[in-house]
C-alpha cells in the first residue's frame, strides 16, 4: 500500500468518526446499545482484522441511519487483540464485565475465538465470530455463531471445483497454520470427489521462500494445484517454477493485499469465496457501493462478514428488545438471515448454516478479480 492509500486509510478513519457521530444525532437518540467487538488490527492477523473493523463501523453507521435499535443508537466498542489469544481473553473480560456489553462480535483468528468462546459461553453472552467453526469444543457452544464457513465447507468447495474441471490428480501446497486446519478436513473428503492428492507439501508460517516445496508438487505432475495459505509467497513460487496447471486457492488468500503482493503471479487463480467487489451479485450491490463511497476501496469477504454480523445482531435486538441479552438474544439471533456474504442459519449443527451454493468462484486474471459463472448446486 503506497503513501496514497495510507492517506486514504487516515481519511477513511476520520471520515468514519465524523460519519458515525453525524448519524447518531440524525435518526436515533437515548442510551446507546453497547455491543463489544474484538479484531486483530495489529500483528499477523492484521490482514483480516482491519477489513473487519471497517465493515463493522460502516454497518454501525448504516444501522443507526435506519433507526438503530427501536430508536436507540447501536455502539460497537472495537478492541484490538494484536493477533494474540491471551490479549483477546483479557479484552473479552473487559468488554463483558467492565463495559457490560450485551453481545460480542469477532475475534478474527480461530485461536482467539476458542479462547473468547470459553468466556462468552460460560456467561451466556451471545457471540458471532468472524471465523469458521474450529475444534470440537466449539460445537457445544450453542451461543457462539460463525459468519465464515467451517473449514470442511471450504475444503468441499475446493474439491467441487477440482471435480468440475476433471482434475483427478491434485497437488497441495499449504502453510502450517490455516493450511493445516483446512487440510485436516480436506484429506478425508478427497476420494469422495474422485480426487487423488498426489503431493502434499507444507511450509512454515512467514516462510520467505517455498520454491523447493513447489518443485516437489510440480514433480508429481498434478492436474491442478491447491494453495491453502495466508501469504502470497507460494503463489509467486508456483509461477516462478513454471507450474502451468490451474491453481485453486482457499478463501484465506482472497484479500487485495495478497493480490498486490503476488504481483504478476496473480493470474489464472480460482478462489471459492463470496464477494467480488468488481462484479457483485444483485443483493451485494448497495453494500459494495456504500463501502466504496466511504473508504474508496473495494470490499471483500471479511468486510462483508463483519457487516452481516453487525446486522444480524441488530435484527436480533430489534426482535428480542433493545436490552435483550443472554438466552433471549441468543434465540433471536438464530433466525435464518440472508446477508451480503451469504445466507446463514445459526441453529445448524456447524453454527453457521452457510449452504455450499452460496460460494461464488472468482478468478484472478492479470491481477484483477472476475466472477466465473460456476456455482455448486445445493
Amino acid at each position: 500500500m503506497s503513501l496514497s492509500s495510507f492517506i486514504a486509510r487516515l481519511a477513511g478513519a476520520t471520515a468514519l468518526v465524523g460519519l458515525s457521530a453525524l448519524s447518531v444525532q440524525a435518526q436515533t437518540s437515548g442510551e446507546p446499545v453497547k455491543i463489544g467487538a474484538i479484531v486483530s488490527a495489529t500483528g499477523a492477523g492484521a490482514g483480516l482484522g482491519v477489513p473487519e473493523r471497517n465493515g463493522l463501523l460502516l454497518a454501525e453507521k448504516d444501522i443507526n441511519a435506519k433507526g438503530g435499535i427501536k430508536g436507540r443508537p447501536i455502539k460497537f466498542i472495537v478492541e484490538d487483540d494484536a493477533s494474540n489469544p491471551d490479549t483477546a481473553l483479557s479484552k473479552a473480560n473487559d468488554l463483558i464485565f467492565g463495559q457490560k456489553v450485551q453481545a460480542l462480535l469477532g475475534p478474527s483468528l480461530t485461536a482467539s475465538t476458542v479462547a473468547v468462546g470459553g468466556v462468552t459461553h460460560a456467561n451466556k453472552i451471545p457471540q458471532i465470530a468472524f471465523t469458521g467453526i474450529g475444534p470440537a469444543v466449539e460445537r457445544e457452544r450453542k451461543c457462539v455463531a460463525h459468519v465464515l464457513p467451517p473449514q470442511r465447507l471450504n475444503a468441499t468447495a475446493l474439491l467441487e471445483y477440482a471435480k468440475s474441471i476433471k482434475a483427478t490428480k491434485v497437488g497441495v501446497l499449504h502453510d502450517a497454520g490455516y493450511g493445516n486446519v483446512v487440510m485436516a478436513e480436506l484429506k478425508p473428503l478427497a476420494d469422495k470427489y474422485g480426487v487423488k492428492l498426489v503431493a502434499i507439501e507444507k511450509f512454515e508460517i512467514g516462510a520467505t521462500d517455498t520454491t523447493t516445496q513447489a518443485a516437489k508438487v510440480k514433480a508429481s505432475q498434478p492436474d491442478a494445484v491447491f494453495i491453502i495459505a495466508t501469504s502470497a509467497t507460494p503463489f509467486r513460487n508456483v509461477k516462478q517454477i513454471q507450474i502451468t496447471q490451474p491453481v485453486i486457492a482457499a478463501i484465506g488468500s482472497s484479500s487485495y493485499e495478497y493480490v498486490n503482493a503476488m504481483g504478476p503471479a496473480a493470474d489464472n487463480i480460482v478462489i471459492p469465496e463470496f464477494v467480488v467487489g468488481e462484479d457483485p451479485l444483485p443483493h451485494q450491490k448497495d453494500f459494495v457501493e456504500l463501502y466504496k463511497k466511504t473508504y474508496n476501496s473495494t470490499p471483500k469477504n471479511y468486510e462483508a462478514a463483519a457487516w452481516d454480523a453487525a446486522h444480524i445482531i441488530a435484527a436480533a435486538l430489534n426482535k428480542a428488545g433493545a436490552d435483550a441479552t443472554g438466552e433471549k438474544l441468543c434465540e433471536a439471533m438464530k433466525a435464518p438471515y440472508t446477508g451480503v456474504l451469504a445466507s446463514y442459519n445459526f441453529s445448524a449443527d456447524d453454527m453457521t448454516g452457510i449452504p455450499i451454493s452460496s460460494f461464488i468462484f472468482s478468478k484472478l486474471v492479470g491481477g484483477k478479480y472476475t466472477r466465473t459463472p460456476f456455482r455448486v448446486a445445493q
Binding site: S5, R9, V50, G206, T208, T212, Y258, N260, A261
Partner: protein, 295 residues
C-alpha cells in the same frame, strides 16, 4: 527424487543462502566493530526495501536511483541508531546483554512503525535483468536470482577489499580488534563504530532490496530475516563477515536439502538443529580461523 528436483533445491538453496549471507554479513560487521549483536538487522532490510518501493512508486525515480536511495536509508538509520543509543550506552559501558535487548526493542518499534505508517501490505520490486528465467533440466532459476548471486558475491569481495585495503576499513578493523590500542594510534574509535553501523545498515538494506523481487517485503519480514541472518553469521564464526557469506550459503543449502530429503515441515527444525550442533562442535564456526570470544 528426480535430478531436476535436486537441481531446483540447489537453486533455491543458493538464492536463499545469498540472502541469509547478506543479512549475516551486516550482522557480523556490526558485531566485529562494536561487540553488539544487532537483533534489528532484518529491519534494515525492511527499511531499505520499503524506501526503494516508495521512491519508485511515489517519486518515479529510475530503478537504480531508488535502489541507491534505499541503501542510503539503511545506512542513515544505522548511523542514527549508533549515535542516538549505542554511543550513550557505550559511554556508560553497558553490558552486552543490554545491547542485545536494545536492538530487540528497536526491532519491535521499527516493525510496528512500518505497519502503522506504511500499512500491512506486501510489496514487490521489479526483478533485475527482466522477468525471464533460465531453465536447466526442467529446474528453473530466475534471472534476478542470478543477479542476486552475482551481487552477493560482489558485495562479499568488496567487503573483503574494504577491510583490508581502504584506510577506513583498516582502522575499523583495528578499532574492533583492540579499541584502546587503536585509540593510541589516533583512530577515533567511536566514529569507527558509527561507520560500522552505517556499513551494517547498508548491507542489511541491500539484502532487503535484492530479496524483495523474489519474496516481497512486508512489516513482518524483519524478524524472520534476522533469525536466519543470526544463523548465517554464527555459522561463519560471528566475528568474520566473510564467514557469514559461507554460513549463509550452508544454511540455505541445508534447508533446501532438508525439504527434499526429510520433509518440508521439518525444514526449520533441521536448520536450527544444525546451527546448534555447529556452534557446540566448531566454536570458531565453519571456517575455524577467526577467533571468537568465550565458548
Amino acid at each position: 527424487m528426480t535430478l531436476s528436483l535436486i537441481l531446483q533445491a540447489l537453486f533455491a538453496g543458493v538464492t536463499n543462502g545469498i540472502v541469509y549471507a547478506l543479512v549475516g554479513m551486516g550482522l557480523s560487521a556490526i558485531f566485529k566493530g562494536s561487540r553488539v549483536i544487532n537483533a534489528m538487522q532484518g529491519e534494515f532490510a525492511v527499511i531499505g526495501a520499503m524506501t526503494t518501493v516508495l521512491l519508485l512508486t511515489r517519486t518515479g525515480w529510475p530503478y537504480a536511483a531508488a535502489i541507491a536511495g534505499g541503501a542510503v536509508a539503511g545506512a542513515l538509520v544505522g548511523a542514527f541508531i549508533e549515535v542516538a543509543f549505542v554511543r550513550y550506552m557505550a559511554k556508560k559501558n553497558a553490558s552486552e546483554d543490554s545491547f542485545l535487548l536494545l536492538t530487540i526493542g528497536l526491532a519491535l518499534t521499527l516493525s510496528a512503525s512500518v505497519l502503522f505508517f506504511i500499512g500491512r501490505d506486501g510489496h514487490l520490486l521489479p526483478p533485475l535483468g527482466g522477468a525471464g528465467v533460465l531453465i536447466i533440466l526442467d529446474a528453473v532459476i530466475q534471472f534476478h536470482a542470478l543477479w542476486l548471486i552475482a551481487i552477493g558475491i560482489g558485495a562479499t569481495l568488496a567487503l573483503r577489499a574494504f577491510y583490508h585495503r581502504t584506510t577506513i576499513g583498516l582502522s575499523m578493523m583495528a578499532a574492533s580488534i583492540d579499541a584502546d590500542g587503536a585509540a593510541t594510534t589516533g583512530i577515533n574509535v567511536s566514529r569507527m563504530r558509527t561507520y560500522t553501523f552505517v556499513l551494517g545498515g547498508l548491507l542489511g538494506a541491500l539484502g532487503g532490496i535484492l530479496v524483495t523481487p523474489l519474496i516481497g517485503v512486508d512489516y513482518q519480514l524483519g524478524l524472520n530475516l534476522t533469525l536466519k541472518g543470526f544463523a548465517a553469521a554464527v555459522l561463519g564464526g560471528l566475528t568474520n563477515p566473510l564467514g557469514a557469506a559461507v554460513g549463509g550459503l550452508t544454511l540455505g543449502l541445508v534447508e533446501s536439502l532438508a525439504i527434499i530429503g526429510i520433509s518440508s515441515s521439518y525444514k526449520d527444525v533441521v536448520a536450527f538443529s544444525v546451527l546448534i550442533v555447529i556452534m557446540i562442535l566448531m566454536p570458531q564456526g565453519i571456517l575455524g580461523r577467526a577467533g571468537r570470544r568465550g565458548g
